[in-house]
């Protein structure tokens, strides 16, 4: 089945710093979503981005489908950005919409 790899696994930032999180996937996809799991466990949608570039405030994401990777950019990080960031993909060869998740990047932003 499809493999989804996220890097780095852990990241510590000082408040105000910028960061880039990466998601590599091993096969073509129909859907790619980025999520933020907050310290209370809630999964929050960040982007639906199977291809192209999107921006939402301090966050932006780019997916290059032909090269099978996606990047999530966090600018001017804040302590509330702490948590785990997941990339999830729907394999193109699959006939359901199920998402396959990477193992996540755990981010800690220090004040």
């Amino acid at each position: 089945g499809i493999q989804v790899e996220q890097s780095p696994p852990d990241l510590i930032l000082q408040e105000g710093a910028n960061s880039t999180l990466r998601c590599n996937f091993s096969d073509s996809v129909n859907n790619l979503q980025w999520f933020h799991q907050n310290p209370w466990g809630q999964l929050i949608n960040l982007f639906y981005i199977p291809s192209g570039t999107k921006q939402n405030g301090r966050l932006s994401a780019t997916t290059v489908a032909t090269e099978r990777y996606s990047l999530l950019y966090i600018s001017s990080s804040q302590t509330t950005d702490s948590g785990v960031y997941f990339c999830a993909v729907e394999p193109r060869m699959d006939s359901s919409y199920k998402l396959i998740f990477g193992s996540g990047t755990r981010l800690l932003v220090r004040p």
Partner: protein, 120 residues
Amino acid sequence: GAGVSQSPSNKVTEKGKDVELRCDPISGHTALYWYRQSLGQGLEFLIYFQGNSAPDKSGLPSDRFSAERTGGSVSTLTIQRTQQEDSAVYLCASSSPLGLATRGPLETQYFGPGTRLLVL
């Protein structure tokens, strides 16, 4: 409702007991999904519903796990004869896809807060 809701929030049970977990999807969403997140791990797909039918049950780990959906809305995940390895957070998601031939943002999956299950 405004989002996906799940109940109970927390469930502690004894090994061998049966448990039922409930999911209320976003109103109007036709697709519903169950996932499981074990401690410190990523999310693992369990089952997908389109309406009341389940075209993809490939993630259910054993025949002790079953799920149903009624009225195209509420879903129940049942775990029979629970084992300690069933301890995890069970997450439900919903979406409103247009169909496999028409892909787009309506496929975005929205997640509920989860049910934390502890089997003693």
